[in-house]
C-alpha cells in the first residue's frame, strides 16, 4: 500500500506535536510493510532542503518528505480563507509525477487545502485526523476574538458575529465554513484524537461519523514506575511558555504558595518578551522557581522523571496534550485547567486535579492540595490511565487504510477518473 501523509508543517523545519504524530504514523506504516511519504508546506528557506523543481525534498529518519514552497502562501490561504489555483496545479503535477498513492492521510490540512482539492478530484480516498479545530475555526482553538470560549461556528454565523475583522468579512467567513464543511463531508474517514474533539465537531455536524484514535506514546522510552514524592514536591510544566498556555497563572499561583520545600520547573521556549520578563522576575524573586530552555522530544522522558506532578494551566481548550499523556507514561499525576480533553481525562480517572482556567487563587489551592502528603500523590498515581502506544495508533489507522483500499466506493471513483482521463 502507498500512503501519502499531508501535514501543514514538518521536519526538518518544525517538530511539534502534530509533526511527531505524523512521523510516528509514517514510520509505523513502513514497519508494517507499506510505503509512506510526507507532503508538507516548506516555510523556511534557511533550512537545508534538496531543491527538486517545483518542490523540495528532505529525508527525515527514513521517511521521504516533499515540501511545497510556502513563500507565496498568503495569510488568508494559511487561515483557510482562500486557495490558490497555481499552487493547486503544482500539487496536481506532484501527484501525477509519482507512482499513484492508495490513500492520503491529512494529519493537518492547514496551508494544504489545494492538496485536498487535488486529491478529491483524483478520486483518491482520504483520511482526516482532527488534531485541533482548524476545520471549524480560523483561529484553530474555538476561542473568540474577545477571548471567550466558542461553542462552535453555528453554520458560520458565530464566526461572522464574533470573529470578523476588517479583512475577514462576513462573506469570506461564510465561504470558509462551507469549504471546510465540504472537506469534512467528502472525507472517507474522519478520526479525532480525543472524545473532546469528536464531541465538538459533532455538535456542529451531527451526522459526521467520527472515530476516536488517541495519539500514541512511545512507551519504550519511559521508565515504567516511580515512587511518590518526598518532602520536596516538584511541579513541572513542559511546552511553549505562553500566556495562552496559562504559564503566567501557574507561576503566580506557585509564588503565592506557602510550600518552602516545593519546586516549580518550567521547561520550554517562549516567543513572548513580556511573559519572558515576567517569568524571569518571578524566578529571580523566588529561588523555588526555575526556567529551562526547550528540549528535544527524546529528552522529555528524562525531564518528566524529575517531576512529581505535571501542570497544564492552559487558557484555551487542549484537544489532546501529548505532554499530559507522556506524563501518564512517566506515572505522573496532573493538575490541569478546566478546559478541553485533559480536564475530561483527569475527571474521569481521578488521577490529579482540575482547576479553573486563569484563576490564580484556585491554582494556588490546587498546588497546596497536591502537596498535602505522599498519600495524595500515591492515590492519584494509582488512577493514572495507561496511555495509548504509538504502535496501537499505527495499527488502528492501518485497518482504516486497508478498508478504504478495499472499498467499492474507491474502485468506483477510480474508474470514473480513468474514464474521464481517457475521454
Amino acid at each position: 500500500m502507498r500512503i501519502l501523509f499531508v501535514v501543514h508543517q514538518f521536519m526538518p523545519e518544525f517538530a511539534a506535536g502534530t509533526e511527531r504524530v505524523t512521523l510516528n504514523l509514517a514510520q509505523s506504516a513502513q514497519r508494517d510493510g507499506h510505503h509512506a511519504d510526507v507532503l508538507t508546506c516548506s516555510m523556511r528557506d534557511e533550512v537545508p532542503w534538496e531543491e527538486a523543481g517545483e518542490w523540495r525534498c528532505a529525508r527525515v529518519d527514513g521517511v521521504q518528505v516533499f515540501g511545497l514552497r510556502g513563500a507565496g502562501v498568503t495569510p488568508l490561504q494559511q487561515l483557510g480563507l482562500e486557495t490558490d489555483v497555481g499552487r493547486r496545479h503544482v500539487v496536481e503535477r506532484f501527484l501525477k509525477g509519482r507512482e499513484p498513492y492508495d490513500v492520503v492521510h491529512f494529519t493537518h490540512p492547514m496551508r494544504m487545502l489545494e492538496v485536498v482539492e487535488a486529491v478529491r478530484d483524483r478520486g483518491l480516498p482520504y483520511v482526516l485526523t482532527l488534531t485541533d479545530f482548524y476545520l471549524m475555526c480560523w483561529q484553530n482553538n474555538l476561542v473568540r476574538l474577545s477571548g471567550e470560549l466558542c461553542s462552535g461556528p453555528a453554520g458560520g454565523a458565530a464566526c461572522v458575529r464574533h470573529c470578523s475583522t476588517l479583512r475577514l468579512n462576513d462573506r469570506m467567513l461564510l465561504e470558509r465554513w462551507e469549504r471546510m464543511g465540504q472537506i469534512l463531508a467528502d472525507a472517507d474517514a474522519i478520526v479525532a484524537c480525543s472524545p473532546y474533539v469528536a464531541q465538538s465537531f459533532q455538535a456542529e455536524y451531527p451526522d459526521l461519523p467520527i472515530r476516536i484514535i488517541p495519539h500514541g506514546i512511545n512507551l519504550l522510552d519511559f521508565a515504567p514506575a516511580r515512587p511518590s514524592a518526598g518532602d520536596a514536591i516538584v511541579f513541572g510544566y513542559v511546552g511553549t511558555l505562553s500566556a495562552m498556555k496559562g504559564v503566567d497563572v501557574l507561576v503566580e499561583a506557585f509564588a503565592k504558595t506557602d510550600l518552602p520545600q516545593a519546586r516549580l520547573k518550567l521547561v520550554g521556549p517562549t516567543f513572548d518578551d513580556d511573559l519572558a520578563r515576567t517569568l524571569e522576575q518571578f524566578a529571580s524573586a523566588d529561588e523555588r522557581i526555575s526556567i529551562h530552555p526547550a528540549i528535544p522530544a527524546a529528552e522529555v522522558p528524562a525531564m518528566l522523571a524529575t517531576f512529581d506532578i505535571l501542570c497544564l494551566p492552559s487558557r484555551v481548550p487542549e484537544t489532546f496534550s501529548l505532554a499530559v499523556h507522556e506524563a501518564f507514561a512517566a506515572n505522573l499525576p496532573c493538575i490541569v485547567s478546566d478546559l478541553g480533553h485533559p480536564a475530561q481525562v483527569i475527571r474521569e480517572h481521578g488521577c490529579g486535579m482540575v482547576a479553573p482556567s486563569g484563576d490564580v487563587t484556585a491554582w494556588a489551592e490546587a498546588l497546596h492540595a497536591a502537596a498535602r502528603g505522599e498519600h495524595v500523590l500515591a492515590e492519584w498515581q494509582a488512577q493514572i490511565p495507561l496511555p495509548f502506544r504509538v504502535e496501537e495508533e499505527g495499527f488502528l489507522y492501518s485497518q482504516i487504510y486497508t478498508g478504504l483500499v478495499r472499498s467499492p466506493e474507491t474502485a468506483r471513483r477510480q474508474h470514473h477518473v480513468e474514464a474521464l482521463t481517457h475521454a
Binding site: F14, P224, A225, L396
Partner: protein
C-alpha cells in the same frame, strides 16, 4: 512582535487617525492581535501578524480614499441635478405636437442621409403603425406572443447542425459509504475501530506467560492485561524459570498467579503446559513476556472468535499476527512479511483447515503463534503442547488433522517484534531447519555435505560484503540490487582459504569451532574438491535468494535512504549471511545424521548442542 514595537505601532496609528473613533477599534484589534501573538504556534502568529499589518495599511489607505470619495460624491450630486433638468426639458419637447407630427419625416431623412438602416426604419414604421391601429390589449398580447414564437423558431433554424460544447469534466461524486467492519476477508474487528460497544462476555480468560528476566517492559504488559475490558474476569498465570531481575516480585505485585520452575526444567512446551494446569479460566491465552495487546478489547475480540454463536465457522484456536514495535529491525520486518504471505494472513484473516499432508499445506494451514494464541481450556487439555521447539505449529497441525479449524488473524494484532544480533540468526535458522525435517518427513534437504566448502564460501562472501562499495545514489532497493548483481560475479575460491580466526558470524563458539576444525584438517592452500565447490556455490546462490527477498520488501517500502536506513540495510545483509550459513550447517548436520557425510563427523556432532543452547 515585541511590546515596544506594538506600542510604537499603536502610537503611530493614534497620530494618523487623530483620535477618531477608528482608533479605539484598531486598538481593540491590536489587543486581539497580541492575544494571538502569545500563542506559541509560530506560523499561525506570523499569519496573524501579517494580517494585522494589512489591516493597518488598509485603514490608512481608507482615510485617504474617504476624502476622495467625499469630493466625488459632491461632484456626482451636482451632475445628477443637471441631468434631471435636461430630462425635464426633453420631456416637454417630446410631448409637443410638432415633434410627433414630424417623426416620419425625420425617419426618412435619417434613411436618406445614411444614418439609419432600412431594417431599422421598417421596424420603426411598423411599430408606429402597430401603435396607431385600434387593437384591444388581448389582441396586442397575442400578436406579441406569435412574434416571439416566430423568433424562437427562426433562431432554432439558424443554429441547426451546430454541436453543443461538452460540459467541463467533473470529478466523481463522492458518496459517503461508512467503512464496515469486519473488513472483506476478515472475521474480526477491534471495537475501537469498528465503533461498536461490545457486550461483556461472561467468562474468564487465563493468560499464561512463561518468563525469564522479563525486564522493565513487563510492567506495561501486566498493566495492559489488567486494563482489558469486555470479559467477566482475566487471570494471569506467570511461569518463571529462575528470573533474577524482579520479574517474580513484579508479577506477584500485579496479582498474578506465579509458578516457579528451575531454569533447567524449561522448555517452551513444559512451561506453557504447566501454566495451563494452574489456570482456572474458560479460555487460555498463551503469550510472551515482550508482547503487548492492541486496544482494550483485545482479549474480548479473540474470545469472540471462539465463542461467537453466529459465526459460520467455529474455530478451535485463534492466533493473531504481530505488529512491529518502534525498535523493530528491518530484517525482522521483512522476514515476518514473507512468513505472513506464506501463511495467507498478510492482510487477510486466515482460517486454516486440513488440505493435505504436504509440509507446505500443513505449515500454511496449521500455523498458530505463541506470541498470542487463544484456545478453549477443555480443548487444550486434550492436546497440550508437544516438543522442545515450534510447539505452536505442531499444536495447530494436530488440530487441523483432527478436522478442526484454526484462525490466524491480521484484523487483530499483537505488538511484538525483535531486534536480534546476527549470531542469533545462525542459531535460529539451524533450529528451524532441523525442526522442519523432524516434523515434516517430506521436507527436502539439499545434499550439502562439506564444512570446508561451506566456510570457504562464507568467508569469501563475508569478505566481499565488507569490501563492497555501495553506490552513492539510488533507492534502498537499487542499492541491494547492486549488491546482488555483484554477488553474481563472486567466484568460489579455487583453493581452501585460511579458515582459522576469520570470524564467528556473531556466535563466538562457532568461530572457535571452525578454527579448531580447520587446524585439524590442515587444508589451507589445497584445491577444493568437487563436492566442496558445489557447496560453496550453494552458499552463494542461497544468499542471493535470501537477499532478493529482502530487496523485494525494501523496494516495496522504499524508505528514504538516510544514514539510519543505510546502516539497517548493511546490518540486514550481514544477518542474512549468518542465516544462510545456519541453514547450510543444518543441512550438513541432517545429512551427517543420515550417513551421507564422511568427513569431520565428530566435529559436526558438536554443532547441534552448540547452536541449540539458549534458543
Amino acid at each position: 512582535m515585541s511590546d515596544v514595537a506594538l506600542q510604537a505601532l499603536l502610537a503611530d496609528l493614534d497620530r494618523r487617525l487623530d483620535g477618531a473613533a477608528e482608533a479605539a477599534f484598531v486598538r481593540a484589534r491590536l489587543q486581539e492581535a497580541r492575544a494571538w501573538l502569545s500563542d506559541g504556534a509560530f506560523e499561525h502568529n506570523r499569519a496573524a501578524e501579517t494580517l494585522l499589518h494589512d489591516k493597518i495599511a488598509a485603514l490608512t489607505e481608507l482615510q485617504g480614499e474617504r476624502a476622495r470619495a467625499d469630493a466625488l460624491a459632491r461632484e456626482l450630486k451636482a451632475a445628477r441635478a443637471a441631468i434631471r433638468d435636461r430630462d425635464a426639458q426633453l420631456q416637454i419637447v417630446r410631448s409637443s405636437l410638432l415633434w410627433n407630427a414630424s417623426r416620419p419625416g425625420r425617419a426618412v431623412m435619417r434613411l436618406i442621409r445614411g444614418e439609419a438602416s432600412l431594417r431599422g426604419t421598417v421596424l420603426l414604421g411598423t411599430r408606429l403603425v402597430y401603435r396607431a391601429l385600434p387593437l384591444s390589449d388581448r389582441v396586442r398580447r397575442r400578436i406579441r406572443e406569435r412574434i416571439l414564437h416566430g423568433l424562437r423558431l427562426y433562431r432554432a433554424y439558424r443554429s441547426r447542425g451546430k454541436v453543443q460544447a461538452a460540459p467541463p469534466p467533473v470529478p466523481a461524486p463522492r458518496e459517503r459509504q461508512p467503512l464496515a467492519f469486519p473488513l472483506p476477508g476478515m472475521i474480526a474487528a477491534l471495537p475501537e475501530i469498528a465503533g461498536t460497544r461490545p457486550e461483556t462476555l461472561d467468562l474468564t480468560v487465563s493468560v499464561v506467560i512463561p518468563t525469564y528476566n522479563a525486564g522493565a517492559e513487563f510492567y506495561w504488559l501486566l498493566r495492559k492485561l489488567r486494563a482489558q475490558r469486555g470479559l467477566g474476569s482475566v487471570e494471569i498465570v506467570v511461569v518463571d524459570s529462575g528470573s533474577s531481575d524482579g520479574t517474580v516480585e513484579q508479577a506477584r505485585k500485579a496479582g498474578c498467579r506465579v509458578v516457579q520452575i528451575d531454569k533447567s526444567q524449561f522448555s517452551h512446551s513444559y512451561a506453557r503446559n504447566l501454566g495451563a494446569q494452574h489456570a482456572s479460566g474458560d479460555l487460555l491465552l498463551f503469550t510472551v513476556q515482550d508482547a503487548y495487546p492492541i486496544g482494550d478489547y483485545w482479549l474480548h475480540t479473540l474470545a469472540r472468535c471462539l465463542r461467537n454463536p453466529d459465526a459460520q465457522t467455529q474455530l478451535a484456536a485463534v492466533s493473531c499476527a504481530e505488529f512491529p514495535r518502534t525498535d523493530s529491525e528491518l530484517l525482522y520486518n521483512a522476514l515476518i512479511d514473507t512468513h505472513y504471505r506464506f501463511l495467507g494472513c498478510r492482510d487477510r484473516d486466515r482460517v486454516g483447515a486440513f488440505t493435505g499432508e504436504s509440509n507446505e499445506a500443513l505449515r500454511s494451514q496449521g500455523q498458530l503463534s505463541d506470541v498470542a494464541c487463544m484456545i478453549e481450556r477443555s480443548t487444550f487439555e486434550r492436546y497440550f503442547y508437544h516438543g522442545r521447539y515450534a510447539e505452536d505449529l505442531t499444536l495447530g497441525v494436530r488440530l487441523i488433522r483432527d478436522g478442526q479449524r484454526i484462525g490466524m488473524l491480521s484484523s487483530v494484532k499483537v505488538i511484538h517484534s525483535h531486534n536480534r544480533p546476527k549470531g542469533y540468526y545462525v542459531r535460529r535458522i539451524f533450529v528451524d531447519v532441523a525442526f522442519l525435517t523432524d516434523v515434516f518427513p517430506d521436507f527436502q534437504v539439499p545434499d550439502s555435505v562439506s564444512i570446508i566448502g561451506t566456510f570457504a564460501a562464507a568467508y569469501t562472501l563475508q569478505d566481499h560484503l565488507r569490501r563492497f562499495r555501495w553506490p552513492a545514489g539510488g533507492s534502498a532497493g537499487q542499492r541491494l540490487d547492486s549488491l546482488i548483481g555483484s554477488l553474481d560475479r563472486v567466484a568460489p575460491p579455487a583453493l581452501v582459504p585460511d579458515l582459522v580466526g576469520q570470524g564467528d558470524f556473531g556466535h563466538p563458539p562457532l568461530g572457535e569451532w571452525i578454527s579448531n576444525l580447520a587446524r585439524d584438517a590442515s587444508r589451507e592452500g589445497t584445491p577444493l574438491t568437487a563436492a566442496e565447490l558445489r557447496d560453496a556455490e550453494r552458499m552463494r546462490s542461497m544468499l542471493i535468494d535470501r537477499l532478493s527477498h529482502l530487496r523485494d520488501y525494501v523496494t516495496a517500502v522504499d524508505p528514504a535512504l538516510d544514514a539510519r536506513v543505510s546502516d539497517e540495510i548493511e546490518q540486514a545483509v550481514e544477518k542474512t549471511l549468518s542465516m544462510t550459513l545456519g541453514a547450510q550447517l543444518a543441512f550438513i548436520h541432517l545429512n551427517t545424521e543420515a550417513g551421507l557425510v564422511t568427513e569431520h563427523r565428530a566435529a559436526i556432532a558438536h554443532l547441534k548442542p552448540m547452536l541449540l543452547a539458549g534458543i
